[in-house]
Structures are given as C-alpha cells and as structure tokens.
Symmetry: C2
Subunit: 343 residues, 2 copies
DNA sequence: CTGTTAGCGCCTTCAG
DNA sequence: CTGAAGGCGCTAACAG
C-alpha cells in the first residue's frame, strides 16, 4: 500500500541499502549482477526515490524559489517562463511564491523557503531590498531583482529605468511632441519611481513642465487615468506610461474618446510585453527582453549555488544592468503599420 | 556560520528539543516560562525551521506540483495565476514543472515529484492520461486536466471543446457566413482534436464542406496558415481558430493582406485569453475563465489531499466539465467596437 | 566491491 | 508539563 522505500528494494534484491543507493545515484562502483538485481527490484516494486529524504541527507534540494509580488500580467509570466527554461537547463525545480504585498509577508515567504530550496530569486519592488537581503546573506544564495539602486554589492539585476524613461521622452520630443504626460506606476514601486524620475529629468532638461497622473501598472488604471485627463480638459499630444499595460489602457481610452493615435496623441509604454506588438496601433515601448532576463537571472542563480558549495569559487556580487531598448512602432506615428512584427 | 537547528535552540533555551518543537508547532501544551525562553532563543539565533526535515517526519510537504506541457502564452499564465491564488489560500506552495513534450519526459517529471509534493495537477494534453494516471493512482492525490475523454472515473476537469466549437460554427452560420475555415491546433493535442471534431460536426450538420488547415496553437502558426490560405486563392468569409493566439495571427495576416475584418471575414478564437479583448478588432471567442478554472482545480486538489489522509472521507472522482461561453466581439461584425470591455 | 552505521533536522510517542 | 529516544528515507563515510 505505502510506497516502497530503499529498504524494501534492498531486501528484495538481497543487497544492502548502500548498494541500492549506489546504482540509483550512479556514484560508486557496483558489480553488474548486483546492479541488475537492484534494477529488477526497483522495477518490481515501482520504487521511486523520496527526494525529500534525499535532500535531507545531501542538503541539496535541486529546487530554487522565486519570490515575486504578483503573478498578474504578461511581465511576470514572461519572466517566469524565461526562468523556467533556465531552471530546467540547470536541472532545477522551480517553486514560485507570489502575492506578497508588504514586506512582512514577503519576509515570511522567504523564511518558509528554508530547507525547501537551494537558492532564491527575489523580486520585491515594494520595499527596500537591503533589509530583506540582509536577513539571508551568507545563509543562502540569492539573486536580487528589486529595481532598487541599493542592490549594488550583492548579486543582482536591475533595469535602467531612468535611462529608458529618458530615451522615451527624448524620442517624443524629437518628434515634435510638446505636451507629454506621464502615467506613473504604484507609488511604492521602486521601478515606477525611477521611470517617473527619468521622465521628470528629461522634461526638465528640455525646459518642459512635467505632468504626472497616478496609475497602478494595470490596464484599467491607465484607462482611468486617461479618461480622467480628458475629463479635466487636459489634451496631451503624447503619453508616456510607466508600463505597457497602462499604455494599452490609455490607447483604448483615446479610442473610446475619439482621439486618434498617433495623429492626435502618441503613446509610449515600457517593458515590451508580447501584447505591445499586437495592439493596434502597435505600441512604441522600451524593450526589456523579459524572458531573456529571467533566463539570465536563473543562470546566475545556478552559478551562485554552485559557488556557494565551493570555497574557492570567485564570488559573484555583480549588479547587472539591463538597458532597455526603444522600439518604435505605430503608436508614435513613425513606424509602418505592419513592419513584419506580426509574428 | 551554519544555520541554527532546533538543537541549538534547545541548548540555548535550556530545554529539550521536544519543547522547542512544541512551541513552534503550537501542538502540545507548554508552560509560559519555557515558551518565552524558547522564543528568546529562536530570536537570538535567528532560527528558522527546516521545512525539508519537517516534511520528512510529518510526511507532509505543504507543496503541490503542477505538471504542464508549456509555459508559453497567456493561457498557461492565467491558469497558473488562478492556481497560485488558490494554493496560497490553502497554505500550499506551488512548484511548476513544464516543457514536457513527450510522455516519457512528463513521466520523469512526475516521478521526480515524489517526496517533494503532497499532490499533483497534471496537464498533459499530448498523451493519453490514463497511462500516466495509472502509475500514481492511489499513491498520490492527482487532479487531471488532460482534455481527454478518458479522465472519467478520476478526479479531473475538462473543457467541453466539442460543444464550444459547435457553438462557434453555429454562430458564424447564423450570421450568414458560408465558407468557414478551421485552423487546427497541434495534431497530437487532444483539445485541438476535439475542437476540430466539433467544427467538423457542426459543418457537416449544416451541410457544408469542412476545410481545415493545420496550426500549432501559436500566433505565428495562425499567421502562416492564413497567409498560405490566401496564397492558394482560398477566400474564406470566416475563420474558426482552435485557440485565440492563432486567431490573432489570422487577424493580423488579414490586415497585412488588406482583407477587412469583420466586413470580409469573421474570426473566432477559443479560450478568451486577456489579449482577445485587446486586439482590434476585438476577438469573438469562447470564454473558458482560465484563472477561475485554475483556482477551482487547486481547490479540488487541496480537498483531495485532505481526503487522502482521512480514511472516512468521501472519494471525489468527479470529472468536472467546463462549458465555454461564446463571447461575441467585433471580429464577428456584430458587437459594438467599444462595448465597455476596455478594462 | 559490499555491508554496517551514523547522521541530515525535525516531530512524536512514551515514560517520568 | 517535560525530556529521552526512535524514526521519517536516504546518503556517505568507513570498515571488511
């Protein structure tokens, strides 16, 4: 009834548990006859090693955890997809833990990972990562993706949000747009703050007055913000949204209101989620290569884990910066409607 | 240096490990003074219980696995999002295992879950689930979502693909469309087969000749299939694609070719992924309520796990059927362009 | 090459 | 109420 253990196998094969372990793990030499006897018993008993028990004695779980604030929207989906690919390539299982709105919740999630994973990727844009990181530095390999500037000195990856935002605004200005409004992300979000800062910086540098309305990274919030804008009589000739989903919301709000894009208003997003290329007009945005970033992050974590068990490994404490690339599409009025990106 | 164990805590608190365990798990009465001593030690040593070790002795991991073929596209993202919500609500961790193209790979993934999870949700539309299910029935609580008809008798959830497809075709026919072409999914995919069967059935019933072109559930394949169709001089007045992403690909291919939708051709998809409401023209499709389905599946798995450890629990072996609902949008030429779905 | 034995870190009877 | 001891299933020395 109960699943067979290594002992059952040993008994049936008339060998010791050590031998069974040897043929199953591949470590240690075993004579052919015993190997066959073991395999026969394994087959007969439909034996499958208990990875939990194995973990306890090897102190390796071959599992990594990903802590993230949310699972909503294409950004996180893409990121996880990239991580999943790399995890598989590195022989690692992936356990995702999301919906951590506040710091204490995230901390609890991280704590509950102990004994469950060999390493962690932490995305926690809502709080300062230093605090969190402190609590587990040295204890566990961790790769930070907090969008905060305070990740320097620890293994981390950040997006150059300021640079991306500046590029967006400069592009709009270069096209002759004058009244550029920014739809910001959630106030507590570090990435959102940086994108907003970049916007303000570029506007100020150009001698323009920044105008900011609040959003929440959701399509609905972009839609609402735009509607509110129009209701107030504000008539921007360009929108720079802090992410693509809000930009899409803005796009649709303009359509609802009969404002033409790109003729009357240009719209720029951030991230380049898959949908950005599919809406019409296709969205100009800052490409982050999300899945690739996830893949890269997981590869680095795998390396961190390997180094963790190897005393003479070179410590990787690099803070890698992802530089978003401006992708110009129809929503800015320049690109050809169908520029081969339909796939 | 190394993380503290329960023994370290016991030592520092001058109590036995049993007492530490008692205050930490909440089970078993402890006198207030010892409780405080323990908590003090826990705090001082920054002790965190090792969940792997705990699992070994309790034989509960509080973790569930999700086996799925892929992580690509919004369908699986949404599904996992729903599962994640329910997992959290049930106090369960989620480990995802994807990219299992063939049966042996999926089987290996399932096997490697032993000792790692308390239960499994298996999505394996590429192979007959019975075989897989057999190998673990009784051993582990499993919820099947294989889209196969052979899940009856085991806890499972299936989408009424035939019914959905029939509804799609009938709707198109009712609108006066005559030359309805079906873009099919991957040949090995059970859901794709059923949707195709439904299409054929409805067409035949209406006395029309079915026309089927092959796709692969990706946007690119829908695009290519449509392009090929046009190149051959075929001029359908409606497309029923086996999923939304292929429908979107078709939509864009028609735009490229200057064929107007919905005037010249109607397009219907399947699934109602978020993007379906965002493309223009917005896509008519069959709504599956993906996230909700995932949530429901996880809730059922949680119940299965609970029942698994309770001898006198009523066995749940129901095969729940999800009936997709036709959502009419612009791509069929009926719905108002902006019908309030912009959010 | 093989078997014996001691843990991995924790929970959980069972006496006291 | 508390502590001692056994065991969860497996791996990894260490002898033989």
């Amino acid at each position: 009834m109960k699943p067979a253990t290594i002992r059952d196998v040993a008994e049936r094969a008339q060998v010791s548990v050590a031998s069974v372990s040897r043929v199953l793990t591949g470590a240690g030499a075993v004579t052919e006859p015993t190997r066959l006897k073991v395999l026969e018993a394994v087959e007969a008993l439909a034996y499958v090693p208990h990875s939990g028990a194995r973990s306890l004695s090897t102190s390796r779980t071959d599992t990594v955890g990903v802590i993230l604030p949310d699972l909503f929207g294409e950004f996180f989906s893409e990121l996880i997809r990239g991580m999943d690919v790399a995890a598989r390539a590195n022989g690692l299982h992936l356990i995702v833990s999301s919906s951590h709105d506040d710091a204490s919740e995230a901390a609890a999630a991280i704590r509950s990972m102990r004994g469950r994973v060999d390493g962690l990727i932490v995305l926690s844009p809502h709080l300062d990562s230093a605090h969190l990181a402190q609590s587990l530095v040295g204890r566990l390999p961790v790769l930070l993706m907090n969008g905060g500037a305070n990740d320097a000195g620890r293994p981390s990856m950040v997006v150059d949000n300021v640079g991306g935002a500046v590029a967006a605004v400069e592009h709009l200005l270069a096209q002759g747009r004058e009244r550029i409004v920014h739809i910001g992300g959630p106030s507590g979000n570090l990435e959102a703050r940086e994108r907003q800062a970049g916007y303000v910086q570029a506007m100020t540098a150009a001698g323009r007055e920044p105008t900011i309305v609040a959003g929440a990274f959701t399509q609905a919030s972009g839609h609402d913000a735009t509607k509110a804008l129009l209701a107030e009589g504000v008539r921007p000739d360009a929108i720079f949204a802090a992410n693509d989903m809000m930009a899409v919301g803005a796009l649709l709000a303009f359509q609802d209101a009969g404002v033409r894009c790109p003729e009357d208003v240009a719209v720029v997003g951030f991230d380049d989620v898959p949908i950005a290329a599919l809406v019409r007009p296709a969205l100009t945005t800052l490409r982050v290569e999300i899945a690739e970033t996830g893949r890269r992050a997981m590869d680095r974590l795998a390396a961190l884990i390997a180094a963790f068990n190897d005393p003479e490994a070179a410590p990787d404490a690099a803070c890698e910066t992802i530089r978003p690339q401006l992708v110009v599409r129809q929503s800015c009025g320049r690109a050809h409607p169908f520029n081969g990106e339909t796939q």
